[in-house]
């Protein structure tokens, strides 16, 4: 019998583990190894250089830029997406009329949910190519076209969107425009998530609150929001990962994949730039390992913060 179990376990695990080792684990281990060499990526020549690549990381102007841009997305993407999603969920679930049965969701909330969820099912590539056309820097683009028509933007001086490195609040404008896309595409999904969480809150809690004379704003801020804390912190962690992964938008939409003039570089695009355009593969691997460590630390930190908040409450 024991023998049968061993054979069964091995039989079931062999293929998935084998595939995973070959296509996922092994490349990662190799990358960690290459990060200690000066390998260019094409030749067979490579020399062990120890931690030299990692030392170089700290003096690289481009990395510093990319780091701060990553931090920018890490803060703004979750912040704006969650704020907007919560606001939409709030309107959907408490915006309706008030009657004996309590406060209702708005009329047609099912339809709104279906529509708001649209961007979630579109691929990031479709979204990027679509927004490329919306953000066109001439009258043919959707936004410039509309603004020119109503006279807010001059024909000869359109908004340049992806070609605008000028800082706004200390951050290049192009990053703000990318942020708009991220929030646009994410808000609907998290709205649905929060809505579902709101609806699973027992009705009698609300009834008690209404009996005590609480209005809908109070009910929301004093009851719904605190009870949503867990869902919101999960959403925050997920959005953090998405923020680290803005590469698709940068890759497809910005000039020379991180431009103009490196104004929209993030970690991933710097790795791409060093590995495939400058031919410094060992160095690119070192950046990638640093990014992996950064990601893991961040995940651990987020878990810690959310846990501590829960104890405080």
């Amino acid at each position: 019998m024991r023998h049968g179990v061993a054979r069964f376990v091995t039989g079931f695990l062999a293929l998935p583990v084998g595939l995973y080792l070959f296509y996922v684990v092994w490349p990662f281990l190799q990358a960690a190894g290459y990060s200690l060499t000066d390998w260019g990526g094409y030749s067979d020549r490579q020399q062990f250089v120890g931690l030299e690549n990692y030392v170089r990381l700290f003096t690289d102007e481009l990395i510093r830029k990319a780091f701060w841009h990553n931090v920018f997305f890490l803060v703004t993407v979750p912040l704006f997406t969650i704020a907007l999603a919560l606001f939409l969920a709030f309107l959907l679930n408490v915006g309706g009329r008030e009657d004996k049965a309590g406060i209702r969701g708005v009329f047609g909330s099912g339809l709104y949910k279906v529509i708001f969820f649209f961007p979630q099912v579109l691929s990031l590539v479709v979204i990027a190519v679509m927004w490329q056309q919306i953000y066109r820097a001439d009258g043919q683009g959707l936004i410039n076209g509309v603004l020119m028509k109503i006279g807010l933007v001059d024909q000869d001086d359109p908004i340049t969107f992806m070609y605008d490195p000028e800082p706004f609040l200390g951050v290049p404008a192009v990053l703000w425009w990318l942020l708009v896309i991220a929030v646009w595409s994410g808000a609907g999904f998290y709205m649905v998530l929060f809505s579902a969480a709101m609806q699973s809150i027992p009705k009698d809690i609300y009834e008690a609150a209404i009996l005590d004379g609480a209005g809908r704003f109070h009910t929301f801020f004093r009851i719904t929001l605190p009870l949503l804390r867990d869902t919101v912190s999960v959403a925050w962690v997920y959005l953090g990962f998405i923020a680290l992964d803005m590469f698709a938008l940068v890759y497809i939409m910005t000039p020379s994949q991180g431009g103009p003039n490196h104004a929209s570089e993030i970690f991933a695009s710097v790795i791409n730039f060093n590995a495939f355009q400058k031919g410094q593969f060992g160095y690119a691997c070192a950046i990638a390992v640093a990014l992996a460590i950064f990601t893991i630390l961040l995940a651990a930190l987020q878990l810690r913060i959310t846990r501590r908040e829960r104890i405080e409450y």
Partner: protein, 320 residues
């Protein structure tokens, strides 16, 4: 989601008791009065409608632009009503823009990869969740660690591995469907195993024991008893994987490259990126819009038909 009934919220009540005492008057003034409620209701509708327009308008604009002539796209970029519907744009994008080939490749790859991901993922998750053996935790954490590591880190070694394998086994080399299937499966396993693992843990043991008493083998128990019981979880993770692999653009761009000069077997997102660059040079705007439309309409239609399942499937993926 199941956590909302936890105690932290209940403790919040007594903690925060003083403020509500102070403010019932304001609460009633804002939310309680009839007129206030009506104004708020109107405001809700207004804001929700504005956001709905902001979501739908760009999509509609892309679809409608796909039905214009090129000169119309330039002359009247904003109009939502083409002077004459140019269905030919779709035909041109389908053949000359190779959207047809992209679709075929995507469907071929996804059919294999989603099926294999689900099968191998739930097999591994099941064994890890319900059998004790040395190395169990190690393998589980190995899969779990794949969730945090960035894919770009593995890019070049992965390409090298695939290239070298292709020298001995040509059907697993770059630009081959089977290779992309296996790579998709490997990269989807981390989340699939993680998700199904927690699902198999929750299934009752009594039924499994009964089946064993009746003389079912371990693999029969899995395929005829446990897998059917895990159907809700399989649907969730299935939707997640279909969308995730359909959206995958980095792996195909990296791996579906032509090595010996043969045409690339591109999948849809990869092809769309190239199309957006090429059509830009040729200024075939309507063709580009037609390509984007064809890439997004099938998913949107499937979503609208199965919206309840898709919404709950995807949100379950997050809240697990």
């Amino acid at each position: 989601m199941s956590t909302v009934t936890h105690t932290p919220g209940d403790q919040a009540g007594p903690d925060q008791a003083p403020p509500p005492d102070r403010t019932p008057g304001r609460g009633a003034a804002v939310g309680g009065s009839r007129a206030g409620a009506r104004i708020f209701n109107g405001f809700s509708h207004l804001f929700l409608a504005v956001w709905a327009v902001m979501v739908v308008y760009p999509l509609l604009w892309v679809v409608m632009s796909a039905l214009k002539t090129d000169s119309e796209v330039i002359r009247k970029p904003l109009s939502l009503f083409p002077e004459q519907l140019q269905w030919g744009n779709f035909a041109r994008a389908w053949t000359e823009g190779h959207i047809g080939d992209f679709f075929l490749n995507t469907v071929l790859v996804l059919t294999g990869s989603v099926f294999l991901t689900m099968l191998l993922g739930s097999m591994a998750a099941y064994v890890l969740a319900r059998y004790e053996f040395p190395g169990n935790r190690l393998i589980y954490y190995m899969f779990l660690s794949g969730l945090t590591l960035p894919i770009y880190l593995a890019a070049v070694p992965l390409f090298k591995g695939v290239y070298n394998l292709g020298v001995t086994l040509p059907f697993l080399g770059p630009n081959k469907h089977l290779m992309l299937i296996l790579v998709y499966v490997a990269w989807s396993l981390a989340f699939t195993v993680f998700f199904m693992h927690s699902f198999f843990r929750t299934l009752p043991t009594a039924i499994a024991e009964a089946a064993m008493v009746d003389g079912a083998s371990h693999s029969r128990l899995f395929f005829s008893v446990m897998l059917p019981m895990a159907k809700p979880g399989l649907i969730s993770i299935g939707i997640f994987n279909v969308l995730g692999q359909w959206n995958q653009w980095y792996l195909p761009t990296l791996l579906m490259q032509s090595v010996a000069g043969e045409p690339k077997n591109q999948v849809i997102s990869q092809g769309l990126i190239e199309l957006s660059v090429n059509q830009g040079y040729r200024s075939d705007w309507s063709g580009l819009f037609a390509g984007v439309t064809m890439a997004m309409l099938p998913v949107l239609i499937v979503y609208i038909v199965f919206q309840r399942q898709v919404q709950s499937g995807l949100t379950a993926g997050v809240s697990k």
